[in-house]
Amino acid sequence: MNVKDGYFYSKEHEWVKIDGNKAKVGISDYAQHKLGDITYVDLPPVGKAVKQLEILTGIESVKAASDIYSPMTGKVIAVNKALENAPELVNASPFEDGWIAQLEISNPAETANLMNAAAYKTFLSGLEE
């Protein structure tokens, strides 16, 4: 299972990549693998304010409909429109082309509640036992 360095991860398997006061959000390779073929990503409205670990939006796969939790507190400033017609990008490229939303974040220190790549790897190996 691919885990990318430089990203932070939640226990619910979302990732966040921080660039100044902007943060891109998506789901991890582990999550897309577990969900199976993604059929629909409910893109959140731009401007939506969300708190860390509250529901940001939803995602549907052939197996299930699941919530996506926001890894950080912030406001949605952009969404990945490409997912409207190609939700499979989340499967093919979960960390790059399959990003879901971009947030303007207010408190970068919140990453303390998340895991870095090494910690997430350990977390995943615990789940696989």
């Binding site: 577990k34 073929d37 629909y40 052939v62 197996k63 299930a64």
Partner: protein
């Protein structure tokens, strides 16, 4: 197979309605008259009969085979229910009749009154509405009742708490009604984690929605504690009664402290569903919620006459036309009075016994994540089979080849690779034994020849439809 439009032959017809006479046509305003023929298929009666008979043979139903779909209660529906629903006095009765002259609709009003009273007794609630059309509609009604209760009291509420083991419709209903959802995980035994629940509860919580028994097929042992915690914050306790078939005559939601209950008549009380008929999601409430129930409502006066209750300003209003799906009420009413109190207790005992029988027999072959006595359904996983690349989906498909409707898979979401089996009380031990043998054989083949399972079904007209494509490229065709 051709569809009915492709079978059409110009000029062919079954019944010739003739040309309407001019006098009748003139009664229809000119701008409303059809100028072109309607695009209906042209077929003989025999063409139509053959087409639909053939289609019905492709259908899989509980009338022909075992249908152990967990969480959906696909029990056999006795034909006596159908007989009651087609009594001409009922089918010919216009629903407005009760509003115009209730003396002409006493029988129908009596059915509505009686089924409501019987369900009050079964669930321990104070009052019922027959209106909601199905379970999720009942849930929405329940949440609207919750909101009405808090509004009346001047409470400011924002959240609905839902455990992870609830039906997926619970959080959806709460969200549709405008609440935010707080999810609580389950503990090691499969019940709601009470410590986390206590932590997450606050005065802004409007209600707590519990599915009982839960989607893990287990009874919520700590329900008393949960109700006490909810009460402290004046949160309404909501009982998702979709699984009521496990507890009939054993324990009542009203006695447990629930304020609102919805019941899927089409599940527990044996009226067809799953494409076989409309549902009914009757909602029952406790004393403190009763004044908010949808109206109209049927009542009985001291001389035994049934009447429609006068308007009540606290009511949330109508949630459906008239009294909901009346035909479904008739079927459920027939079922309840046919079985009686003792019969309904047998229903639950047999449903629970059958599920436990399957659980114990299949335990050596399939992983059982919550190993305790189950209620009306049991949840396995495909964990043992995954080692050979065989997933829950493959096991489900392999069952099709063996003549069974697949059980529910990948649900509940808290169990990975879940296989959820609900045999219901209507299956015999012989039928259950054959199913158990089929499941065993699949487990063995998954080890010896996993490819065979992964390539099933092989006996159907279409092996595996492309589910991903079907979900991604939605295409609705309307004429």
């Amino acid at each position: 197979m051709e569809n009915i439009f492709e079978k059409s032959v110009t000029g062919r017809h079954g019944v010739d309605a003739g040309t309407p006479d001019e006098k009748s046509v003139n009664k229809i305003p000119a701008n409303l008259r059809r100028v072109k023929d309607s695009p209906l298929p042209e077929l003989s009666e025999l063409d139509v009969v053959r087409h639909y008979t053939r289609l019905s043979k492709l259908n899989f139903s509980v009338d022909s085979e075992f249908y152990p779909l967990g969480s959906c209660t696909m029990k056999y529906n006795p034909k006596a229910n159908e007989a009651a629903a087609v009594i001409p006095g009922f089918t010919g009765l216009h629903p407005y009749m009760a509003m115009i002259d209730d003396t002409a609709a006493q029988g129908a009003l009596e059915v509505i009154y009686n089924i409501s009273s019987l369900l009050c007794e079964i669930t321990g609630m104070k009052k019922f509405t027959t209106q909601p059309y199905a379970g999720a509609h009942g849930e929405l009604t329940g949440i609207l009742l919750t909101a009405a209760y808090h509004r009346k009291k001047g409470n400011k509420k924002k959240y609905i708490v839902v455990p992870e083991s609830a039906h997926g419709t619970n959080p959806a209903s709460a969200a549709v009604a405008g609440y935010s959802v707080i999810t609580v995980p389950v503990d090691a035994e499969g019940g709601m984690d009470v410590d986390i629940f206590r932590e997450k509860m606050n005065d802004e919580v409007a209600g707590v929605m519990m599915t009982m028994p839960s989607t893990l097929g287990v009874f919520e042992k700590k329900i008393k504690q949960i109700v006490e915690i909810a009460r402290k914050h004046d949160a309404v306790m909501y009982y998702d009664g979709a699984n009521l078939n496990a507890i009939l005559g054993k324990v009542r939601p009203g006695d447990m402290g629930f304020d609102i209950v919805h019941i899927n008549l089409h599940k527990t009380f044996s009226t067809p569903h799953g494409g076989g008929g409309p549902g009914s999601g009757m909602v029952g409430v406790s004393e403190r919620i009763a004044q908010f129930l949808p109206q109209p409502y049927v009542d009985k006066n001291t001389s035994g006459k049934f009447f429609i209750s006068p308007d009540n300003k606290d009511s949330i209003g109508k949630v459906a036309s008239f009294f909901g799906n009346f035909g479904v009420l008739l079927k459920a009413y027939t079922y309840i009075i046919m079985l009686g109190k003792e019969g309904l207790i047998d229903v639950s005992e047999m449903a629970v016994l059958n599920a436990n029988y399957i659980m114990v027999k299949l335990k050596p072959f399939y992983d059982l994540p919550y190993d305790r006595i189950c209620m009306h359904e049991c949840v396995f996983t495909a964990k043992k089979q995954i080692k050979n690349g065989v997933h829950a989906l493959d096991i489900a498909k392999a069952l099709i080849d063996r003549g069974y409707h697949p059980p529910t898979i990948y649900f509940p979401l808290v169990v990975e690779e879940a296989i959820m089996i609900e045999p219901t009380e209507t299956e015999s031990k012989q039928e259950l034994d054959m199913f158990i043998e089929a499941m065993k054989e699949i487990a063995m083949t998954a080890q010896s020849d996993p490819e065979k399972i992964k390539n099933s079904p092989s006996t159907t007209r279409i092996s595996r439809p492309d589910e991903t494509k079907a979900a991604r490229e939605l295409k609705l065709t309307c004429f």
